[in-house]
Symmetry: C2
Subunit: 187 residues, 2 copies
């Protein structure tokens, strides 16, 4: 008797395949057929788990968020107990920048998703929640807990990520810009 | 005898159509067929002017740059002669944010293009040049002419644009974040 594949496990397998396709070949390569081939399942199987491309994209973005969160948590845990606000913030933001293979793949999928949702009028409410939550967390770590400064720092991190993916900034330039900004905020 | 259509004019007409398709329907809708239909020409005509999708995308991004530059120049000219560095910077960066219909269309195309190039190993050297040029210009306007601060300000603008397009920030939030950052830089 074949092992019963868990529903969630199969969805994750398909979302992983979607992420690989999006990260390696770009969003326009994300199709039912491509994703099915990459996951090693039939197109009908993909359709069984995700009725639309929108559904598949949303699940992949969730997977990206889960991985990003795991990366951030691991990096913060490595700081030891009770880190000071500035190294905590720097570690958090650096963990989200596309500076290694995994985070570059994550960044590409996030970028592809943003490009995908930017033309859809409704947008994605989960994006807003994630950003608002992060902005609140950052605000509490700043010496002057100003939401506008936190919003700026988050945007700076996002822009650095974009320039790293696009190749306009080197890792060194991006980290210098982040440190210069933290200098301003913590001076 | 039919009017002879200028080569450059025809290319621009096709690139405009590409921009409308990308801005309204997303990058995955950008195909020879779609762009030809939007431009009101044959697919063969599009292929005559752009042999590959890469060529078409590059030309559209150039068109985006030309329009962005025209927007920035008009906004700066409206400041009158010899504007002070801070209002000049604010005007420059605000003109590049997706805060009205035209700049949102420009932003969507730029985002689609970034998502498109991020998965291509070579990237696009013209992106780097444009960013480096802008960073140099910004550096010269800062009270402390620090390239890392200029790189951060540029990244902040880019990130604000991303969050405006994605709907995470309102126009008011984005402008507050920009002003809070300029306060830090000019204090």
């Amino acid at each position: 008797m074949p092992r019963k594949v868990d529903h969630q496990e199969r969805r994750t397998q398909i979302a992983d395949a979607l992420m690989r396709v999006a990260a390696e070949q770009g969003l326009e390569a994300v199709s039912l057929r491509h994703v099915a081939a990459e996951a090693g399942v039939s197109a009908g199987m993909v359709q069984h788990y995700f009725r639309t491309k929108d559904e598949m994209m949303r699940f992949a973005l969730e997977a990206v968020h889960v991985r990003s969160e795991a990366r951030v948590n691991a990096a913060i845990a490595a700081l030891g107990p009770d880190p000071a606000p500035r190294p905590l913030l720097r570690t958090l933001l650096t963990a989200l920048l596309p500076l290694d293979d995994e985070s570059r793949a994550i960044g590409r999928v996030a970028l592809a998703f943003l490009a995908y949702t930017a033309v859809r009028p409704s947008g994605d409410p989960s994006l807003n929640e994630g950003t608002a939550q992060m902005a609140g967390f950052i605000t509490a770590l700043l010496p002057a807990p100003d939401p506008a400064r936190a919003a700026g720092l988050l945007a700076l991190m996002e822009g650095l990520g974009l320039y790293l993916l696009g190749g306009q900034y080197t890792a060194e330039q991006a980290l210098s810009a982040l440190d210069a900004h933290l200098d301003l905020l913590f001076s």
